[in-house]
């Protein structure tokens, strides 16, 4: 340090470096990351589209307006024509409008599954991490049983439990699978904090147990959970497609969802490949967008990468 610097300035300098929170420095790095910006742009467009799609869609996605052009015997479907950019689907509904409106249900599946998985994981993880002892043991045994089954297989089994599958049972199946993952992440980082200095300091000051958990421990444990949430948004959408493919998806297709559109046309992959390709491309792009955001978030929130 230069000789001319006064003690006062030294302290100011220290305060400045210590004052940058992890979130602030992460955000600073994210803004410069082209990969994050690509992911965020994809997701931004996706979210806007899914909100506006009912007004943007040129046709009603649930009306079989081109049904007279569907010839089952010759396996013919309506070709692209004026007013119907991509032609019709197997039931003679406007395919382009269905793709557009499909973004809405797809977003609902992704967000719904993440919220349920996150809430369940938050409750279990906080209980285990904050209370410890026998609560921790019980919660972790439940988590262990759930994790000892391959996750997608568990989702299939849960979906098969319901006699009447619907959008909600699909969301439930792909979200329950995520609960143990969230619970474990949260418990891990909360346990690490139980013996840390700031929790000890708060205890010594006489802060109530609840306040320590919710104001000191939980906020400091959230970053791996946030990263996992972004990744779950992607996997939920892909897994919903797999459920439809196995006949465990939502049978009601008046309101289309991309995974359902993809799974439902499995028998015509060879004759009408575009019916599968379009929803598949949409799923891949959106899943990629969420994954890019999640991975760059993980790097940015990793204290090892702080400069």
């Amino acid at each position: 340090m230069a000789l001319g610097v006064s003690k006062k300035e030294k302290i100011d300098g220290l305060a400045e470096t210590a004052g940058v929170s992890l979130a602030a420095s992460a955000w600073k790095r994210l803004k410069r990351s082209p990969v994050f910006l690509i992911g965020a742009t994809i997701i931004g467009i996706f979210v806007v589209l899914s909100i506006l799609s009912p007004w943007l869609a040129p046709q009603d996605p649930s009306v079989p307006m081109l049904i007279d052009q569907v010839v089952k015997a010759r396996n013919e479907i309506p070709p692209p024509q004026p007013g119907h950019l991509l032609g019709g689907d197997l039931q003679g509904r406007d395919f382009f409008s269905r793709l557009l409106v499909g973004s809405q249900q797809t977003l609902i599946v992704g967000v719904g599954a993440t919220i349920i998985g996150l809430t369940g994981g938050l409750i279990l993880g906080t209980l285990a991490g904050a209370l410890g002892g026998w609560v921790d043991s019980v919660v972790m045994r439940i988590v262990d049983v759930m994790l000892s089954l391959p996750s997608l297989l568990l989702a299939f089994s849960i979906a098969a439990m319901f006699a009447r599958p619907s959008q909600f049972t699909v969301i439930l199946a792909v979200s329950i699978v995520q609960i143990p993952v969230f619970a474990r992440l949260l418990r891990g980082s909360m346990l690490a904090q139980r013996h840390s200095d700031h929790v000890l300091a708060a205890t010594a000051l006489g802060v109530k147990k609840g306040a320590i958990v919710f104001r000191h421990m939980l906020p400091n444990s959230l970053s791996p959970v946030i990263v996992q949430s972004t990744l779950v948004l992607a996997t939920a959408i892909i897994e919903a497609a797999a459920l439809s493919f196995l006949g465990l998806g939502n049978p009601d297709d008046r309101l289309p969802e991309w995974g359902q559109m993809l799974g439902d046309v499995q028998n015509v992959f060879d004759t009408h490949p575009h019916l599968a390709a379009w929803p598949a491309i949409c799923i891949i792009i959106v899943a990629l967008g969420f994954t890019l955001m999640g991975e760059t978030l993980r790097e940015a929130l990793d204290p090892k990468n702080r400069r």
Binding site: D144, V145, S148, L149, P150, S151, L152, L153, F156, S157, A160, M161, A163, A234, I238, A241, A242, F245, L246, G247, L248, G259, L262, G263, Q266, F269, D270, P273, A276, A280, I283, I284, I285, A287, L288, T291, L292, E295
Partner: protein, 334 residues
């Protein structure tokens, strides 16, 4: 080491018991239950009642469960209602398990053989075009629905490369010894049967390998990046060791632990991916049986196959944990 292994095996028994209880309760509490599954929609109330009595379903559920455990101990897991109606569930599992082992083995082989070297190269050229390209490729690999990729391979690659896209083997006259079609030919000397079975494995194995490949690639890359920063690598370089020696002895060996863990965890992805891939390629393995079982609600088969999948998954991961000792001498001494 031994104590650790025993403890894990006891845990496994506990997990299987709890799981079987849950699955059992699930099957019995289903709307309609096994009676509707067996008789279909058009059953008369009289025949329903008779079958309910005959199956012992009028007894309390825990009595039923203990009876089920007793039968299961003798290998009787019930009779298939949808996958291969009339066959016993255990028979279906034993018949189909070798097929899935073959498929998963080749898939994970492809994933490791491509993923580990690519991950190493990408890490060595951190930030270069090769690194960026392969990272993006691996991210796309995870984003593609497995069954869609399988259909792409089936429709496009099979006609372009002239590879078979259906079943495990053509209807050729091959002697069956072990149930592993690739091994049978080698044992009996029918090399053409082995080659034919291998041809049938290529496309489904590639489809099944994509997700494990993408994950193994990324973990290898991250692990190698971590190790390359270590002081001992710099020391090895500065004392003049040749690049191959540093790579083999110092970098790869130290980077292997997380990679091996990942390979174990990927068995889960293989088992669930097999359900989708085997359905697409009409590959007569456990995965296809599960897919048909879910579709036709064949509960005895589902119950047995899900429990078996769990056991395989847990045992593979136990073996992986035990293999740490072989890779890392520091763990051996503990």
């Amino acid at each position: 080491m031994l104590r650790y292994t025993i403890r894990r095996l006891v845990q496994l028994v506990g997990v299987v018991l709890v799981l079987s209880m849950l699955l059992f309760a699930w099957l019995r509490l289903l709307p309609g239950g096994p009676v509707s599954a067996l008789l279909g929609e058009r059953a008369t109330p009289e025949s329903r009642e008779a079958l309910t009595k005959q199956l012992g379903l009028d007894q309390p559920i825990f009595v039923q469960y203990f009876k089920f455990l007793g039968r299961a101990a003798t290998g009787d897991f019930g009779v298939s209602t949808g996958v291969q109606p009339g066959d016993s569930a255990l028979e279906i599992f034993l018949q189909r398990f070798p097929a899935t082992i073959e498929l998963s083995f080749f898939a994970i082989l492809i994933a490791i053989a491509v993923g580990v070297p690519l991950g190493y190269l990408a890490a060595k050229r951190r930030g270069g075009w090769f690194d960026n390209l392969s990272v993006i490729g691996s991210l796309i690999g995870v984003a593609v629905p497995v069954f869609f990729l399988a259909y792409l391979l089936k429709d496009v690659a099979s006609s372009a490369l002239g590879l078979p896209s259906q079943g495990r083997q053509d209807a050729i006259d091959a002697t069956r010894v072990t149930g592993f079609f690739t091994l049978d030919g080698l044992i009996t000397g029918e090399i053409d049967a082995t080659l034919n079975a291998l041809e049938h494995l290529i496309l489904p194995a590639i489809a099944l390998a994509t997700i494990p490949f993408a994950v193994i690639f990324r973990i290898t890359r991250a692990a190698v990046l971590d190790v390359l920063d270590e002081d001992f690598v710099r020391t090895a370089e500065s004392k003049g060791l040749t690049a191959p020696v540093i790579r083999r002895r110092h970098v790869l060996r130290n980077a292997m632990l997380p990679v091996v863990t990942t390979i174990g965890l990927q068995t889960g992805a293989l088992l669930s991916g097999a359900v989708l891939t085997e359905k697409v390629f009409s590959f007569a393995g456990v995965g296809q049986a599960l897919a048909i079982g879910f579709e036709r609600r064949d509960y005895p088969v589902l119950l047995l196959l899900i429990i078996m999948a769990t056991i395989v998954y847990v045992v593979v991961n136990l073996l992986v944990d035990l293999s740490y000792a072989l890779i890392d001498p520091r763990i051996r001494t503990r």
